[in-house]
């Protein structure tokens, strides 16, 4: 089959690889009908996530049709149309039973790698996202092996198009969880979202769905700001305005009640802090650049929440903890517990509350994907979200 393969830092290619097979009786094989490139795939392209190996199949946002099931699979059958969460969860461990699906104890075969870096615990496995996260082959391909097939995949039984439900696999729940983590008081709270990429867009719209009185989105890319503005958000271009002053002005001097950092470790940013971050990241002394996080802590209102859906990988320094302490902020963060959001968000799509396909700017075949990784990374051609058809 055809697949997008990691070939090294800044090298992604299309290769022919063997079709996946069932490895365990709880597996299923899914023929992929739509897949997407995620912002966090760019961290892999940039080589800042450790433990990628040449030849790894990428991709963690995908959906398709079940074509084979293992003998212990009960809920799924051949022919089912499914969306598949990007994180892999066993469904029976304590974190899974508490709905903390991304923190699954049992789904990462390479738990010892993550344990070495993260204080003796590992999160669950992820599709196509490094060996530290399990080394599972990803879904930017024509077929994929789905482990724990009774736990992750969610059947789509209505006639919604792929493009309307594909993002239930990651960016929609990720943006939604970021907003949900804020504990928004409807009609009262102001929410600021740093980063108007795909996750930022969904975070902003989710904050609106959850009743935020006002949503402010901060970025520097005009097309992204325009997309947020079209949803009724106030926008701030940080290249044209001083972010902290603009946010104070927009909130009567209080600051936003909740701040979502939808940028994560690849924050662009200016100033000496950002330069130090970039240099350290290049030298592999630090995985993270944190301009957006600094702004988030500095701008957030007293007693507010800082919600972090953006990926952080390693150690960070020069964090304004004094500001966070002085204002009594709450931090909420973590990988998305995708499984628990799919059904409620699917209902919202079916009810016409939101059509997630608004975020798509590029549609292409797998053959075009290597080029589009770069287009997306460099934010060229208004690129916000790329959807790939593996059979085109």
């Amino acid at each position: 089959m055809k697949a997008i393969v990691w070939q090294g830092t800044n090298k992604v290619g299309v290769e022919t690889v063997p079709d996946p097979t069932l490895l365990l009786p709880t597996d299923a094989i899914v023929k992929i009908t739509s897949t997407a490139i995620c912002g966090s795939d760019l961290h892999l392209l940039d080589g800042v996530i450790p433990s990628m190996e040449k030849g790894d199949i990428l991709g963690h946002e995908f959906m398709g049709e079940v074509v084979e099931v293992g003998r212990d699979v009960r809920r799924l059958k051949v022919g089912d149309r499914v969306v598949v969460p990007f994180n892999i969860s066993c469904g029976v461990c304590d974190p899974c039973r508490r709905g903390l699906f991304s923190a699954c104890d049992n789904s990462n075969p390479n738990h010892r790698m993550a344990e070495a870096l993260y204080g003796g615990v590992s999160g669950g496995g992820l599709f196509g996202y490094s060996h530290m996260y399990g080394g599972y082959a990803g879904g930017q391909a024509q077929y994929v092996r789905v482990p724990f097939a009774d736990v992750g995949p969610h059947k789509i039984e209505s006639d919604l198009r792929d493009e309307q439900v594909l993002f239930l696999t990651d960016i929609f729940p990720t943006g939604y969880q970021a907003a949900e983590n804020c504990g928004i008081v409807p009609g009262r709270d102001v929410v600021a979202v740093f980063g108007a990429g795909p996750v930022g867009q969904f975070a902003a719209r989710s904050a609106q769905m959850l009743g935020a009185a006002h949503v402010i989105v901060i970025d520097r890319v005009p097309e992204r700001l325009a997309m947020a503005e079209s949803a009724g958000c106030q926008v701030i271009n940080y290249e044209q305005e001083d972010v902290l002053i603009a946010l104070r002005e927009a909130t009567g001097g209080r600051g936003p009640d909740h701040v979502i950092d939808a940028v994560g470790m690849e924050a662009h940013g200016h100033g000496p802090g950002a330069l130090v971050d970039t240099a350290k990241q290049r030298l592999k002394l630090s995985f993270d650049r944190i301009t957006a996080l600094r702004w988030a802590l500095l701008s957030c209102a007293k007693g507010g929440t800082v919600s972090l859906p953006g990926v952080y990988g390693g150690l960070i320094d020069k964090v304004p903890m004094g500001a966070a302490f002085a204002k009594g902020l709450t931090f909420r963060m973590g990988q998305t517990h995708t499984h628990r959001h799919i059904a409620p968000l699917l209902s919202r799509i079916e009810a016409g509350e939101i059509d997630p396909s608004f975020v798509i700017t590029h549609r292409a075949s797998l053959d075009d994907a290597p080029e589009l990784y770069k287009t997306f990374r460099d934010k060229q051609g208004g690129c916000i979200k790329v959807v790939l058809n593996p059979w085109a």
């Binding site: 089959m1 697949a3 393969v5 070939q7 290769e15 690889v17 063997p18 079709d19 996946p20 097979t21 490895l23 365990l24 009786p25 709880t26 450790p50 433990s51 990628m52 190996e53 040449k54 030849g55 790894d56 199949i57 892999i88 066993c90 029976v92 461990c93 304590d94 039973r97 104890d105 049992n106 789904s107 990462n108 075969p109 738990h111 010892r112 790698m113 344990e115 070495a116 870096l117 496995g125 060996h131 530290m132 399990g134 080394g135 599972y136 082959a137 391909a141 092996r145 482990p147 724990f148 350290k280 030298l283 592999k284 002394l285 630090s286 995985f287 390693g314 150690l315």
Partner: protein
């Protein structure tokens, strides 16, 4: 280990005195931060490396440097996280929470002959009588075996054993089964103590060459948890990739 073994290991944690470092052993702050950074970088490089040995060595040295930076202590044994009792035994312990009742888990461990399925470096345990058993372990130098005796057997709570005098590797250990708070099942805690051939230098060498008992124990406990909770181990072995043969 004192001469009059076997005696039951203490109910509470055995003495886990870390090697003490005096004030002169403290590293200057700058050195510590450099070491911390280099340690993290090496850990990253180790994780990125495709070659398993390099992965382990770089990873361990990196973790060692990071640990040195974190603790400000210099001794190599501390940096490599080798814990020793005042009697010079190497101490290895870890714990895992498993969503099953203590009685079930106790029964699996109490079947001593079945222990090699739980602990992969254990080659065989032959039950000789009520108390005594014969253990064979895979070591880098070949197989090592000894006789051991149960020193405690409290159904659903605790199993302890010790090698009988004259064993090639003096050792003793215990497994505790404690109900976890809430509905989380059982905490299984394992403590092993042994006198490494070649003393602490031997332990350091073993650690650097990847024969790392603490990691082995951790892996064994995670494998046990997964067998109990899932009935199988998750795997990517044999999956599709663009590497030679297309395998993982």
């Amino acid at each position: 280990m004192s001469k009059d073994r076997p005696t039951p290991p203490p109910e509470t944690s055995p003495p886990t005195t870390e090697p003490q470092t005096d004030a002169a052993g403290q590293l200057p702050a700058l050195e510590r931060s450099v070491m911390g950074s280099v340690g993290m970088a090496l850990m990253g490089a180790g994780l990125r490396s495709a070659r398993p040995l390099q992965k382990i060595v770089l990873g361990s040295v990196g973790a060692g440097l990071a640990a040195m930076a974190a603790t400000g202590r210099n001794p190599l044994a501390t940096a490599l996280k080798i814990r020793q009792t005042p009697q010079g035994e190497v101490l290895v312990s870890d714990a895992v929470t498993i969503g099953k009742p203590a009685d079930d888990l106790y029964r699996v461990w109490r079947d001593l002959a079945g222990l090699p399925r739980l602990m992969t470096h254990l080659k065989a345990v032959e039950v000789l009588d009520e108390r005594r058993s014969h253990w064979t372990v895979e070591a880098p130098t070949g197989t090592v075996s000894w006789e051991a005796a149960l020193t405690a057997d409290e159904p659903g709570r605790r199993i302890a054993w010790a090698a009988l005098p004259g064993a090639a590797v003096e050792n003793h250990g215990e497994v505790l089964f404690r109900p976890a708070p809430g509905d989380r099942g059982t905490e299984v805690a394992v403590r092993l103590a042994y006198r490494p051939p070649g003393g602490s230098a031997g332990a350091i060498a073993a650690r650097l060459f990847g024969e790392e008992p603490a990691q082995q124990l951790r892996d064994d406990l995670m494998r046990f948890k997964r067998e109990q909770e899932l009935g199988f181990a998750p795997t990517t072995e044999g999956q599709s990739s663009a590497r030679a043969g297309g395998q993982a």
